[in-house]
Each structure stands twice: as structure tokens, then as C-alpha cells.
């Protein structure tokens, strides 16, 4: 059975249906994939500026909205300077 248990207390990256990217420590989850993130930040990508991180704190994201959850590699995270990264933002899902 697939589970999010392995992500608990790890730093994870969430992509939401509206294209938002949120990183944080997964504090908990439930059967509907609702997720609690602590110390969370939104990463805003743009072409002409570096990545901007907006602190959000404690966040409860509904499972409905989540497209992807991935574990972050701390070593890689620390080696990357987000300010130097320019990228197209992820567009929201269209129905």
C-alpha cells in the first residue's frame, strides 16, 4: 500500500494544482493525503528574477489540491543558490 509515512519529518516539496511550489517539513498527513507542513515556504519562480522564497509557517494543504510530493535532498538544497535560478513558473492546471 502506498503511503506518505516515509516523508514524515523530512523536508518535502509540494506542487499544487494552481502551480504553486511549497517546501516544508511534513509534520503529518491522513488517508485523503491532506498534509501538514511546518516551517513552510512558497517558492516563486520567474524568468527575469531569481527564485523568491516567501515564509508561510504552519500550513495544512488539502489533498485535493496536491499534484506532487517529493523529498528534498538537503545536500543538494544547500549547494544551490536559489537567487541564481531563473525558471518559468508552473502554470495552473486547466480543465
Amino acid at each position: 500500500m502506498s503511503s506518505l509515512q516515509g516523508y514524515v519529518d523530512r523536508r518535502v516539496l509540494l506542487i499544487l494544482q494552481d502551480g504553486r511550489v511549497i517546501v516544508g517539513v511534513m509534520a503529518g498527513f491522513d488517508q485523503k493525503s491532506n498534509v501538514v507542513l511546518s516551517d513552510s515556504k512558497e517558492r516563486i519562480y520567474s524568468i527575469d528574477e531569481g527564485v523568491e522564497e516567501i515564509p508561510l509557517g504552519l500550513y495544512l494543504v488539502k489533498g485535493d489540491m496536491i499534484v506532487l510530493i517529493g523529498e528534498l535532498d538537503d545536500a543538494v538544497e544547500q549547494a544551490v543558490d536559489l537567487a541564481t535560478i531563473h525558471a518559468e513558473p508552473i502554470p495552473p492546471i486547466r480543465y
Binding site: A27, G28, L56, G57, V61
Partner: protein, 142 residues
């Protein structure tokens, strides 16, 4: 036979979750009377204090500031009810995390004290309504 099995599996999952991860709904329950920001799937946001919530994540807020999805229009509402299925996310005070964790530890320790080791108690789970009934309150009341 099969439905019963899946029901048991459900209970087991609940138990495992309760052991060491925080359930989003326990966090929400603990957020009663605390300020929070709710964003709906349509982008509207609601800032207010949580009055009540249920297992569908339906919530009532009081002293609410509603903002449209463009963020350029505001409304003040005395109270409002939001259907859980329309919510995108909730932002709650940081301090709640520690409060809920502490409460979970307390509940678990109380459970241990009352009926011996939590793990060995788990072995009897499901055999009788008594063990099930006596276990749940301390686990799920936040």
C-alpha cells in the same frame, strides 16, 4: 468478509497514524479559537478565528475578512461557514504544532499508564468492543 477486513485495516491505519504522525484534522481541532487564513480553490481568502470544524473540514469562522481572488476587494463578515471541499489550504499559527504534539504525547502516556504497554495493547485490538472503545478516546480527543 472482505468489507470487515478493510474496516479493520482502516482502524489499523488510524492507529498507526495516531502513533507518530500528526493528523491534519487534529491540528485543525486544536486550532479552535485561533486565528487562521483559509484560501479556497477559487483563490478567495478568509481571515478569521476558527469557531468550529468537522471531519469533512467544514469550518465556521468569526470576525472574518474576506478577500477576492485578485486581492483588491475586501469584505468584513461577522461569521461564515465554509464547506471543506472548497478549501485549498489553511494557514495556522506556528505554536499549534508543539501544542498538538505535546497533547498527543500526554494522551499516549495516559493510555500506557492505564492499560500497560501501548504496543502489547495493540495486539488485542479488534477482538472486543471494550478494548476498542476504551482506547479511542485518549487517542483521538485533542
Amino acid at each position: 468478509m472482505k468489507p470487515l477486513g478493510s474496516v479493520r485495516l482502516g482502524w489499523l491505519c488510524c492507529l498507526l497514524f495516531a502513533l507518530d504522525t500528526m493528523l491534519p484534522l487534529s491540528l485543525l481541532n486544536a486550532a479552535q479559537n485561533k486565528p487562521m487564513l483559509v484560501e479556497l480553490k477559487n483563490g478567495e481568502t478568509f481571515n478569521g478565528h476558527l469557531v468550529n470544524c468537522d471531519n469533512f473540514m467544514n469550518i465556521t469562522l468569526r470576525e472574518v475578512y474576506q478577500t477576492n481572488s485578485e486581492g483588491d476587494r475586501f469584505w468584513k463578515l461577522k461569521e461564515c461557514y465554509i464547506r471543506g471541499s472548497t478549501i485549498k489550504y489553511l494557514r495556522v499559527p506556528d505554536a499549534l504544532l508543539d501544542a498538538v504534539k505535546e497533547e498527543q504525547n500526554r494522551a499516549r502516556d495516559a493510555g500506557r499508564g492505564a492499560r500497560g504497554s501501548f504496543v502489547s495493547g495493540g495486539g488485542n485490538r479488534g477482538r472486543g468492543a471494550i478494548s476498542r472503545g476504551s482506547r479511542l478516546p485518549s487517542l483521538f480527543c485533542v
